[in-house]
């Protein structure tokens, strides 16, 4: 579930490799917990670097496929044999081969709905009039590593970690201002090694 974690330190990058590598270091070497990364497009392999489990959203779709197909098949059988049994040319009431196309379509339809609904639930998506974003450039060309912190010591550690790893920009998000619906930011100075901000 993607929620903005506060307080947290943000490290900005402009490259998917860099983000993936720094995420891996932060997770495996430094042992930062509950990391998240934001990117304009999905980055291959970043799930392992962040230590994310593989997504569960395929499970509802598979169940939906079976359930939809079952529903389709049994509805056709019920209407043709119980609800209003019509003798069509002496064929069996449940002429199952004729049911197959609709059984398949019903399964796929149900699976598709379950699939998208599961993704919406997993990602906490619904039509929101206002979306709180960490940076407007994430959907354009920026890659951001989010390191949640608890106290000043952790914050200092995260900031120095990002400095070592040449972040383009380091920001600290302190709180979520619920009334105004926006995040409260503070920028942390870069190390002063001439890195462009």
């Amino acid at each position: 579930m993607a929620r903005v974690r506060v307080p947290a330190v943000l490290g900005f990058y402009d490259d998917a490799h860099d983000l993936s590598e720094v995420a891996g270091k932060a997770n495996h070497e430094k042992g930062f917990k509950d990391l998240d990364a934001y990117s304009p497009y999905p980055i291959h392999g970043i799930e392992e670097q962040l230590g994310l489990k593989s997504s569960w959203v395929t499970i509802p779709a598979r169940l939906g496929l079976v359930f939809g197909a079952f529903l389709g098949f049994s509805f056709q059988s019920w209407t043709s044999s119980v609800s209003w049994a019509v003798n069509i040319g002496g064929k069996p009431y449940i002429s199952w081969p004729a049911w197959i196309p609709i059984t398949f379509e019903a399964g796929v339809l149900m699976a598709a709905f379950c699939n998208l609904t599961a993704m919406f639930i997993a990602c906490g998506l619904y039509p929101k009039p206002k979306t709180i974003v960490l940076s407007k450039r994430i959907t354009n060309d920026r890659f951001v590593l989010v390191i949640p912190v608890k106290d000043d010591a952790e914050e200092a550690e995260a900031v120095s970690f990002l400095r070592e790893n040449k972040a383009l920009k380091i920001k600290i998000v302190d709180a979520l201002d619920k009334e105004k619906g926006r995040l409260v930011f503070r920028s942390a100075p870069l190390a002063g090694e001439g890195a462009p901000a």
Partner: protein, 471 residues
Amino acid sequence: MSLALEPDDKHLLSPAIKMDRVTEDILAPMGRFPSLPWHLAFGLAQGVALLLLAPVAYQMFFGLGIYGITNPNGWGVFIVNFVFWIGIGHAGTLISAILFLFRQNWRTSINRSAEAMTIFAVMTAGVFPLVHVGRTWVAYWLVPYPAERQMWVNFRSPLLWDVFAVTTYFTVSLLFWYQGLLPDWATARDRAKNKFFRTLYSVLSFGWTGSARDWNHYERCYRQFAFLAAPLVLSVHSIVSFDFAVSLIPGWHTTIFPPYFVAGAIFSGFGMVVTLLVIMRKLYKLEHYITLTHMELMNKVILATSLIVGYAYASEFYIAWYSGHEYEQYQFLLRPFGPYAITFWTMVICNVVIPHAFWFRSIRRSIPWMFVISIFVNVGMWFERYNIFIISLHRDFLPSNWGMYYMTPFDYAITIGSFGMFFTLFLAFSRVFPTLAIAELKATLPEPSTGSRLGHDHGHADHAHKPAEVH
């Protein structure tokens, strides 16, 4: 347009194209006042769409008698247009689902507009059965629902399978397409200059933020959709072909129909994609995203499916001869030499002969040539359906049951008007939607960023930037 944006030999897109440039190029037309060429095209398309609307309105008062359908030709252009438009849609799903599963990176430049084409083509196709039922206001009787009549629809009928196949296909295509749109609406939202558009795009994006946790779910969901849509698209035209193959009419009652129809659908669909993209890349200056290489690859698909279709035509003739079935044999004499021979030869020339021009690389990469050929493909595929449906029905078993089919002006009007409806929808889409899949396109850029700060070798950027791929 500088020469620096031309792709080189190694890359599909120019390495000079950066991510922010993609965002700007794709989203900019959405914020601009439409250009004059767009207005002219949209006006023309709407005008032509009236040719569909007016006869249908007229028919509501005067009945189906205004069209050329009679006994034994009960289907007429309704079924021809229906199958034609459903077939057009298939290329979009092929590009979005099947090419995705085969990891064809070049699809990212064309999948959004091809899927939009699918949706609009299926909508256009859907008009024809609804009109053809005559009493369109009770078309909902096609759906099994508990009614006071207590009877159900006949689940043994391929025509009913069609209802389920087409509605499922439309719904699944729409959901799949919308999922792909979520990150792009988010990009539009974060780029929006005023509150109205920020709110609108925020709602449309469902609050997408681009978190790795979300992408993780997103990619799973996307791949699952591709797995669902791939067999679905094959099933849809198979089921459409069952409308004919399950009957006993000579020329229809053959087992080759499902694969033959699917190949024909992909053939005609790619023809339409090429027609549309030649116009769209010019109108919106997208030549650097939809490059000649993309067009060439699509032309190769057209050539390949043209060969399959040509083979299917030939094998139908062979089977008619081999079967020893005299009605079937008569049917296949009628096609090239009967009263509708012109439709047969139009089909053969457009579908089997002309696409062979694509064996030449220079023709595959020539915009004027491919535009003309793609239109021939569309014409040819329309006549293919005319050839199959009309010729088989007009002379079946009993000579006393024979009769010619003549299209009335209303038949011509709805046929031409359907193109107006389709182009109206597509032109509207191209104004208000991101016409290319921005997020997916960024993932396949040769060098997606300004360069690594941590000292990676970017020479093999592709290995870590595969599009929307999970494992």
